[in-house]
């Protein structure tokens, strides 16, 4: 392990006050940031009347109080490092707090010899400039948050760059932590994952807050590129503090015969929006989109997805499950789009909401846009409550109501976690879900 020293001056500028010129970044990158800032300022704030923000509580997106993260104190740093515990066995690890890299476990020498690059952004953009420039924020964010993607690009200063070369398979997952520390702190998590032909990798990201009561703002962008025949698995365990507003824009591009699987677990934050664009670029590509959310109190989860079938013979499968309690709200807006000539598409989309209280609310907008004819596309959306017969069955066997309810809900959510087919990660995610139930009941 090596700790990296940061000599950045402590600052507490509001994020809306403009760009930081203090950072030591390449000129071309700075140029892009200036352009992105102009774009951020030129795009109007979303309103509820915009279709991509229908049902969203856009009033929560007031960014004025949030400040750029400074350097974390030694005490906070020690606490973060102590609490950065995720999976037992990992291939490599990065820990970020705000926009500062705290710690890194590099990939084994064996993997780096075979060409695996696992670096913070600011190093990758210098050492692997060509590769980095080719892919960095190369796809337009089109699901409503273009304004916030521009903000991200303007203010991002670190993140993860992971390149897996041809034929390299990394068995253990790669782990990345992002922490929010301090009142009104902000974080701009970034992950750029590029896999070459036949590569295989699993990445898990943890989003956490040091103090669960502090307000904060997270605005992340992930770009995942699965090369021909590659297999990419991405897991996101979102557990921000209770007063955090979070936006996450994910783009996945799947080349021919490759497969990508993503799972988003949403537990924390006050408002969290997750945009997931999956582009099936090459023939034989496959994409699985999974998500689990447990929403309690006033929490709002807002998921927007697009399964974009560009080539023939592609498959995609989406399964989102939400359990809602108290006054929680969940919104799902998803679209399957089959482009002209993308024949033999097989696309599926399923959203299921389990409402546990009278004040919870579920909004579903599953959509289809089909411009080719030789396709099989299906979608389904359901909203319901715990089946009384199941409840009766458990109670008649002496299980008290709260336990029975918990069993049914975890059983309902577990179907999604199991689809991941990775026991260690599955156990870890189930633990997080259990912990949330333990706190809320």
């Amino acid at each position: 392990m090596s700790a990296i020293a940061h000599d950045e001056t402590v600052n507490s500028k509001g994020i809306l006050s403009g760009l930081l010129e203090l950072r030591d970044l390449p000129d071309w990158f700075r140029g892009q940031q200036r352009a992105a800032w102009e774009k951020f300022e030129s795009i109007p704030r979303p309103t509820r009347k915009d279709q991509p923000w229908r049902f969203s509580n856009v009033d929560l997106l007031d960014l004025a109080p949030f400040k750029l993260s400074g350097t974390v104190s030694d005490q906070a740093r020690a606490a973060i490092l102590e609490q950065s515990n995720g999976l037992d066995e990992v291939a490599a690890r990065l820990v970020f707090a705000g926009d500062q890299l705290l710690e890194r476990d590099v990939v084994s020498e064996q993997l780096s010899k075979r060409g695996v690059i696992f670096q913070p952004l600011e190093r990758a953009m210098v050492e692997h400039a060509d590769l980095f420039r080719k892919y960095f924020m190369s796809t337009e964010v089109s699901l409503g948050s273009a304004k916030f993607a521009a903000l991200h690009q303007a203010l991002v200063s670190t993140g993860t760059f992971l390149f897996v070369p041809r034929g390299v398979e990394i068995d253990q997952p790669i782990e990345i932590f992002h922490w929010l520390a301090g009142e009104n702190a902000t974080v701009f998590p970034h992950l750029l994952l590029v896999t070459d032909e036949l590569a295989k990798v699993t990445v898990i990201e943890h989003f956490r807050s040091l103090d669960r009561n502090q307000r904060g703002f997270a605005c992340g962008v992930n770009d995942l590129l699965a090369g021909p025949g590659a297999k990419v698995t991405y897991v996101c365990a979102q557990n921000w503090g209770d007063n955090v507003v979070a936006l996450q824009m994910n783009t996945t591009a799947v080349d021919h015969d490759a497969s990508a699987m993503s799972l988003n677990l949403n537990l924390g934050s006050r408002y969290s929006r997750f945009e997931s664009l999956s582009r099936l670029v090459g023939e034989g590509a496959r994409s699985d989109l999974l998500a689990v959310a447990v929403a309690t109190n006033e929490q709002e989860f807002d998921a927007r997805t697009l399964q974009d079938h560009i080539s023939p013979h592609t498959a995609s499968d989406l399964l989102y499950k939400n359990a809602l309690d108290d006054r929680a709200r969940c919104t799902f807006g998803g679209l399957i789009r089959v482009e002209p000539h993308a024949h033999f598409t097989d696309a599926y989309q399923k959203v299921r909401n389990l409402l546990l209280s009278d004040d919870s609310e579920a909004n579903s907008m599953p959509g289809l846009e089909i411009l080719a004819d030789n396709v099989r596309c299906t979608h389904g959306a359901t909203s319901g409550q715990i089946n009384e017969e199941e409840m009766f069955y458990l109670r008649s066997r002496g299980i008290p109501v709260p336990v029975a309810q918990r069993l049914i809900v975890t059983g309902f959510l577990n179907e999604v976690v199991q689809r991941l087919d990775q026991a260690a990660i599955g156990d870890y995610l189930n633990q997080l879900i259990d912990r949330k139930f333990a706190h809320s009941r």
Binding site: S364, M365, G367, H379, A381, S383
Partner: protein, 238 residues
């Protein structure tokens, strides 16, 4: 029962109608439209119904003609145990856009609604389902069922589905399902083997697709509708 047809005019025409239905306590109301405007009519229609206690409103909506139709029959389920239903068939041929759907606003306990929509896109036709289902909180035992099936005939045909569903509270259940498919080549082959032409086979297959819905219509209209579909399907293959 309302039929919409018009002689073909030289210039583009607009048809903008409003239909309002009120079903008082215990009443049953059924409203059928078979719309077959000529292909230069823009058809923008508002249709809504108010169902009081124990009442039932049923919209049966067939859209075959017009250049563009935008029509979303709705029912406000105001009284306890009221029931709303929309059965919709849309056929979009070359150059047509059938943007149809349904709205169900649940405003009382034990209300149920059912939406069944079937669409067929031929040539460059585009069929769209746009729906709204709203179940506010503190209502008990409300149910909604939505089914949308789309059939695509040619490679240039297009179909879209845009439902929006809001559910609050624990007493209600809502389900939505949609599927998109193609006329199976095997079915066509089977019928051709038995001496039907490809066009006849296609027409039969499309009629089969809408048959379970058409069967619920009054006899004379289901016969008329079948003929209209056969007519529209003519020359769509080959």
């Amino acid at each position: 029962m309302e039929g919409c047809t018009a002689p073909k005019f030289e210039t583009v025409a607009l048809h903008s109608a409003v239909v309002e239905l009120v079903a008082l306590k215990g009443a049953k109301l059924q409203y059928i439209t078979v719309q077959n405007w000529s292909s230069n009519v823009f058809n923008l229609v508002t249709k809504r119904g108010l169902a009081h206690e124990d009442a039932e409103i049923k919209w049966i909506d067939c859209n075959i003609g017009s250049r563009l139709t935008m029509k979303y029959p709705g029912v406000v389920l105001k009284g306890r145990k009221s029931r709303g239903e929309v059965l919709s068939i849309a056929l979009a041929n070359n150059g047509q856009h059938q943007d149809t759907g349904a709205k169900m606003i649940h405003a009382a306990d034990e209300t149920t609604s059912n939406i069944i929509s079937k669409s067929i896109s031929i040539g460059t036709g585009r069929a769209t389902y746009r729906g709204l289902v709203h179940v506010p909180k503190h209502l008990k035992h409300c149910k909604n069922n939505t089914e949308c099936d789309a059939l695509l005939i040619n490679a240039t045909s297009r179909t879209d589905t845009y439902p929006a569903i809001t559910v609050r509270g624990t007493g209600n259940s809502v389900q939505h399902e949609a599927s998109v498919s193609q006329v199976s080549a095997e079915q066509i082959f089977y019928m051709q083997q038995r001496g039907l032409t490809e066009a006849q086979a296609m027409s039969l297959s499309v009629n089969g697709f809408v048959n379970d819905l058409v069967r619920q219509f009054p006899m004379e209209y289901s016969v008329e509708l079948k003929r209209l579909i056969e007519l529209e399907m003519e020359g769509s293959v080959g």
